[in-house]
């Protein structure tokens, strides 16, 4: 499978790491990529449901490009949101809808993220795609 280059870079970065601790550190570093959704804009409509810790994602489409803002209390969840931001931000709705979340597995990002958390990733991914679909249909 080939990925957009921004995603391929993420995959490459993770695949170089052997140590799980370092992998998680790198994951947390991606938290900085998030365009943060300020606390006073957290609402039920941008709440990620089924995630164990608190997480919010807001999806905007401006000039036919997708942009997300996000926030989470756990830094690793923010890291996942950062990766999602790279995968999504500035792309067309059509591109975003065609993405699959498998790159996270391929990158080994999800290695030893337990089911609940990897489901969290999937949940966030699905939420973004659904919002985009709602907007453009």
């Amino acid at each position: 499978m080939t990925w957009p280059s921004s995603i391929q870079e993420i995959i490459d970065e993770f695949q170089e790491i052997d140590d799980q601790f370092e992998r998680l550190e790198v994951l947390m570093d991606f938290a900085d990529e998030v365009d943060e959704l300020p606390f006073d804009e957290w609402s039920d409509s941008n709440l990620v449901r089924g995630c164990q810790s608190v997480a919010h994602i807001e999806v905007n489409i401006r000039e036919n490009l997708v942009w997300i803002r996000a926030a989470a209390d756990a830094r690793m969840v923010q890291g996942l949101q950062g990766i999602l931001s790279i995968a999504v931000n500035g792309n067309s709705p059509e591109t975003v809808i065609q993405l699959t979340p498998n790159f996270a597995e391929e990158a080994g990002i999800l290695v030893s993220l337990t089911p609940s958390r990897s489901n969290g990733f999937r949940t966030m991914f699905d939420m973004i795609q659904n919002r985009v679909k709602e907007e453009i249909l």
Binding site: Q52, S112, L113, T114, P115, S116, R117
Partner: protein, 398 residues
Amino acid sequence: MGDSMKQDFPIFSREVNGRPLVYLDNAATTQKPSCVIDAMTEYYSLSNANVHRAVHTLAGEATEGYEACRKLLKQRFNSDFAVITSGTTEAINLAAHAWGEHNLQPGDVVVLTEMEHHSDIVPWQMLAERIAIELRFVPVEEGLLDMDALEVALDGAKLVCVVHTSNVLGVRNPVEQIISMSKSVGARVLLDAAQAVPHEMIDFKELGADFLAFSAHKMCGPTGIGALLVSQEAFDEMHPFMGGGDMIQTVTLEGSTYQTNEHKFEAGTPRIAEGVGWAAALEWMSEIDLKSHHKRLLAIAQKVASRLEQKGMKVYSTLRPRDAAVVSFTHPTIHPEDFARLLDAQGIAVRTGHHCAQPLMEKLGVNGTIRASFYIYNDESDADALLSGIDRVLEAMA
């Protein structure tokens, strides 16, 4: 066929009373292939941890192992919901509490049959004591459900509970017809499938029942685990049964809110190792062609039955094409327990007694029967051993 399969089952290398084990008590419980035993050993040796809501590696593995069982159940039986219970009995009690108690009013009619296992009678009698529902029992004639009587009994019924396949007689009831008759009066349908799922493939959605209850231990899986499959409509009508950890979303001193999926009905630490073992059994079973085994075993059972009749015994099983390979019989003078004990002395395991179906025994006019029940690893040699074992009993008691 059966013989090579026996190699997968460690128990068949054991002897009983100096003879190779001939296990014909499969309707009570089935034996376990190595892969099931190994899966549980491996779980306890490598991944044991409590499931859900945890972030460490073992807990993740345990959760995956346990939830794999649910996934396999949903796949195999084509069901949207698979609530995991401790067995058929708890599954039916769950239906009585979680659905019955909240959807039935005093005077409402629940239809049962005289062929039911106690597990599909007593929970409803207990519910009737709590909320004064009316129980109607469809009679059994010559070992078969009286379908005309069912038609009459259905009048005004809210729920119909039927054993899919009888553990005493092997009778496979016309469940498709029963479901469509029940649905036409707007009743929900519960099938006790404890003896069904080991013997035939069931497509839950296609069948159209609302509840399907069964146990792992009767289909090569471990003890202590079973399931209740539930239709979307019935699931939406169910309220929690047992309370505790894992089934809640929030708990405050004022009250609690519940999970929305199956976890709502699975309070407390689940049967984790059992789930792992059952998953292994389901995977193993997915390679088994139940249809061809059914044909093979039924022929064996029919042969046994006709030989027993020749030897003067009374056979109660019907052994029609879709019935399970169960031979229930009595001897005119030899007490079933003496009979079974003399078979056991020859390494042959059969069951005697009322088989948890006293109303059916009453109807058959017996205190109990001797029951030889065949499963996929049994073969002609088991039937031959049984028949010559019986000959020795008859000689000794002559």
